[in-house]
């Protein structure tokens, strides 16, 4: 009898771990397919934009007044023999795969080098902003839900509403005016989204029957929070983590431009103003890949959480 139930428990454990592995595997496949799709689509878009951008196919050599018409024609013929549209795409992909991301027309530097120089600054700003935003939003939401104090709720809501209603650009300008580090703006942009979403999630989670039962049984607030409220809200919170990365990157553009911080945001802005499409599309592709990866990882972690809770 004992052995039979132990066998059943082992079989059930095995089935659970198999189901978890299957879910994670599926989520991983989904993530990989999405990333591959984005890179293929983005690469195709990059190549199309580069080919159709103004000035494509015209080299500086052609502007040399010492060359006669025949020489210019010979130069053009030599280039046209480089291949058709399909050939161009193949060539572009080959270069991309070898790490050659092309040349920035506006800044006269290789795109790869520009991105390598600017990316660390942006990643650091976004990282600091995310950590500060979550460090402010999550505890405040927990205190609001568990504390049940009208004053705290009102104060926290007011702070979140004010930060939600001010554009990131205005906050960046105020930072410059008051001589405060611009990275704080990223935290203030992330904070209201984290606070409001987490607060609503925790409120919904705290109203669930098993939490009410736990409270009725006399469990302490900390135990209720850690064992019953947070686990139910963990999966959507992880998803919010992924989305907040995208929010922080979007806010990095006005912050870097207005606070004069050299980073990818500032590079994107200057590329947009000078219509440097190759640079612009490649930065967008890089940021999209990062946010997509973060969202997929959050989704996979959320799936694992759900399976383990089940």
């Amino acid at each position: 009898m004992f052995f039979a139930s132990a066998d059943r428990a082992l079989a059930s454990d095995g089935w659970n771990s198999c189901a978890t592995a299957k879910r994670i595997g599926l989520a991983g496949l989904k993530c990989g397919a999405r990333l591959l799709g984005l890179i293929l689509l983005g690469g195709f878009l990059c190549a199309t934009l580069v080919r159709s951008s103004p000035g494509y196919g015209v080299e500086e050599e052609e502007l040399d007044s010492r060359l006669n018409a025949e020489s210019v024609k010979a130069l053009r013929d030599a280039r046209s023999s480089e291949g058709s549209l399909a050939g161009f795409y193949v060539q572009y992909w080959k270069q991309m795969l070898h790490g050659d991301l092309g040349f920035s027309r506006s800044l006269q530097e290789p795109v790869g080098q520009l991105m390598r120089e600017r990316a660390p600054g942006t990643f650091k700003s976004v990282g600091v902003g995310l950590v500060l935003g979550w460090a402010l939003g999550l505890p405040l939401a927990i205190i609001t839900v568990m504390g049940r104090s009208t004053a705290v709720d009102l104060g926290a809501n007011l702070l979140a509403s004010v930060t939600l209603c001010i554009p990131a650009g205005v906050m960046a300008l105020l930072c410059v005016l008051w001589q405060v580090p611009g990275r704080l703006v990223l935290a203030l942009v992330v904070f209201p989204k984290v606070f409001e979403y987490t607060r609503n999630l925790l409120l919904r989670s705290a109203a669930m029957p098993h939490v009410v039962t736990a409270r009725a049984k006399g469990l302490g607030p900390l135990r209720i929070l850690v064992w019953h409220v947070i686990p139910t809200a963990a999966s959507p919170l992880l998803a919010l983590g992924g989305i907040s990365i995208s929010v922080a990157f979007a806010a990095a553009i006005p912050v870097e431009v207005l606070c004069d911080v050299p980073g990818l945001g500032q590079l994107t802005w200057s590329a947009a103003l000078s219509r440097d499409l190759n640079l612009l599309v490649l930065i967008t592709l890089l940021i999209s890949a990062i946010t997509l990866l973060a969202n997929s990882v959050a989704e996979m972690a959320g799936n694992r959480e759900v399976t383990e809770t089940a």
Partner: protein
């Protein structure tokens, strides 16, 4: 809460009326230059002074409010319409189509929209007229903001699919496109309306951010975002407090929209 909502609604009505009657209230046209008095201080002639080109700031604020408050709802309408169509069809069809559409929606949601917006904005021809640039800016906002709303609409459409009146309509022989158009879509109205209202403040803020960067509404047309560009001149800002008026109006308006949408959550 009710009183706060009434106050917020009253404020919004006043702002909308002021912008609608801008032609009557504004002392001058938004593009008229008083060349003899650039960067003028507040006076009875120019309530908020003039900008660096000598244009009356109060008039520009009124006309800018009109542009922002007219086109943000227009973008929200585009966004809600797309969400209704895409999310509604996905929820109605279900199965593989729903999975594909929702995967696309997830992809759109995780993309950094600000980078995409700048990319598309940079592709516009240099000789685009201000009016067309306004329309394109808000149309882009509308086209990029559908994904979040589509998820909500799809979830609602799925619930609606098993509603009794839909089953009855199907049993009486109504199906396909007619069922979708006559019974399905009209019942998605409340959720679409909610998404429409939620999108308005988001688009106002997005335009403001684009405007500060100089990639929003083109000059000489005014908008809240364009007017905030003045704040980049620190010497002007520190000397004249009234250049903050557009920020105050923008924040107050967006706050009022948020107050109007807020639900009273019961304590757990």
């Amino acid at each position: 809460m009710k009183r706060v909502k009434v106050a917020a609604l009253s404020f919004l009505v006043v702002v909308v009326l002021a912008s609608a009657l801008a032609d009557l209230i504004a002392p001058s046209s938004y593009e008229h230059q008083f060349r003899e008095m650039p960067n003028a201080r507040c006076s009875s002639q120019h309530l908020l002074g003039t900008d660096a080109l000598g244009r009356d700031r109060f008039s520009r604020l009124l006309f800018g409010t009109r542009v922002s408050l007219l086109l943000a709802p227009a973008a929200a309408l585009v966004s809600a319409g797309l969400a209704g169509l895409i999310g509604g069809i996905a929820g109605y069809a279900g199965g593989g189509l729903q999975r594909i559409v929702m995967a696309g929606t997830d992809l759109c949601l995780s993309l950094p929209w600000m980078f995409l917006l700048l990319t598309i904005r940079a592709m516009l021809p240099l000789n685009t007229s201000p009016a067309i640039s306004v329309a394109i800016t808000f149309a882009l906002l509308g086209c990029l903001g559908w994904a979040g709303a589509a998820r909500v609409v799809c979830a609602d459409a799925q619930k609606l699919k098993s509603a009794e009146f839909i089953l009855q309509a199907r049993a009486t022989g109504c199906g396909g496109f007619r069922l979708f158009l006559q019974h399905f879509l009209p019942n998605l109205g409340p959720v679409l309306l909610a998404q429409f209202w939620i999108s308005i403040p988001t688009f106002i803020l997005a335009e403001a951010n684009l405007g500060i960067l100089g990639l929003g509404v083109s000059e000489p047309l005014p908008s809240w975002g364009g007017m905030l560009q003045e704040l980049q001149s620190l010497t002007l800002v520190s000397a004249r407090a009234w250049v903050y008026v557009p920020i105050i109006l923008l924040v107050a308006t967006v706050s009022c929209f948020h107050v109007m949408m807020q639900r009273e959550e019961p304590w757990a």
